[in-house]
């Protein structure tokens, strides 16, 4: 349970930074990019981009793989899906059931 909270924490922390969200959006548009390609889209040092990619990799949002001599970065959407299942579904479902209850009460009152 604690481990799960820790994992969610890493994902939320990774998503809390605008540069990292920018990097995820770039990978969403075009997956499997090198550090050099990603760096060219940002006004930031290579080291800075590497640091951000490391945080994204630690959170599982980016997976890097070797392809020949290149290291390619891929967007991994699974942790976002898990956040969705754990945090979004749960609360939206409650709202929907609240609306269903309201509908039932209003119809009974008629």
């Amino acid at each position: 349970m604690l481990a799960e909270m820790h994992d969610d924490g890493l994902v939320f922390k990774a998503l809390a930074d605008p540069t990292r969200r920018f990097l995820l959006d770039r990978l969403f548009e075009h997956d499997g990019r090198t550090l050099t390609e990603l760096e060219s889209e940002l006004d930031m040092t290579r080291f800075g981009v590497m640091k951000h990619l490391r945080v994204l990799e630690d959170a599982g949002l980016v997976v890097s793989r070797r392809s020949g001599r290149e290291k390619l970065h891929f967007l991994n959407p699974v942790p976002i899906r898990q956040i969705h299942d754990r945090w979004i579904d749960k609360y939206t479902e409650r709202r929907i059931s609240a609306l269903a209850t309201l509908k039932g009460q209003l119809e009974e009152a008629q």
Partner: protein, 150 residues
């Protein structure tokens, strides 16, 4: 709806609190796949060269047709993939799906799915992009809790 330029390689990864053997079973046994993989029944001997097939829940329709390319239980499985559940996709060329299972710290297995060789299957690439994260999230929940995703 945002559109995305889907690449010819897609990578998905999830950490599952289970042994590689347990995760291998979840991938290769129909009693597991039917509970997280759109109800589908996988059918294969998982020996290199053997057919890899996945059937609809009623087992009447062949949904995925392929061939086992590599098999090294419980570490690595690679098979070709042709989606027959949609007419538009059925006309496309084979692509390839590789499952990599690596033991990680704390009794956890790192499961990576690489769906590549999608050059001749752009519609399949678009179609499976959302599916894999749903499937892996479901596999993790099933293996860890014994229950499928609600």
């Amino acid at each position: 709806m945002t559109t995305t330029a889907i690449g010819t390689t897609q990578v998905y990864q999830v950490f599952v609190k289970a042994t590689p053997e347990q995760v291998w079973d979840a991938i290769t046994k129909p009693e597991f796949t039917s509970r997280y993989f759109y109800g589908s029944h996988v059918d294969s001997t998982f020996e290199p060269g053997a057919p890899f097939r996945s059937y609809s829940p009623d087992k009447e329709q062949l949904w995925v047709d392929g061939e086992v390319l590599e098999s090294d239980p419980p570490r690595r499985l690679s098979h070709s993939w042709r989606a027959l559940y949609d007419e538009e996709l059925a006309g496309e060329q084979h692509s390839r799906v590789t499952w990599e299972l690596e033991p990680a710290d704390g009794g956890v297995t790192k499961l990576t799915v690489v769906h590549d060789e999608l050059e001749g299957a752009p519609k399949t690439a678009q179609n499976v992009a959302g599916g894999w994260m749903y499937i892996l999230s479901g596999l993790k929940t099933l293996v860890e809790t014994g229950e499928p995703l609600a």
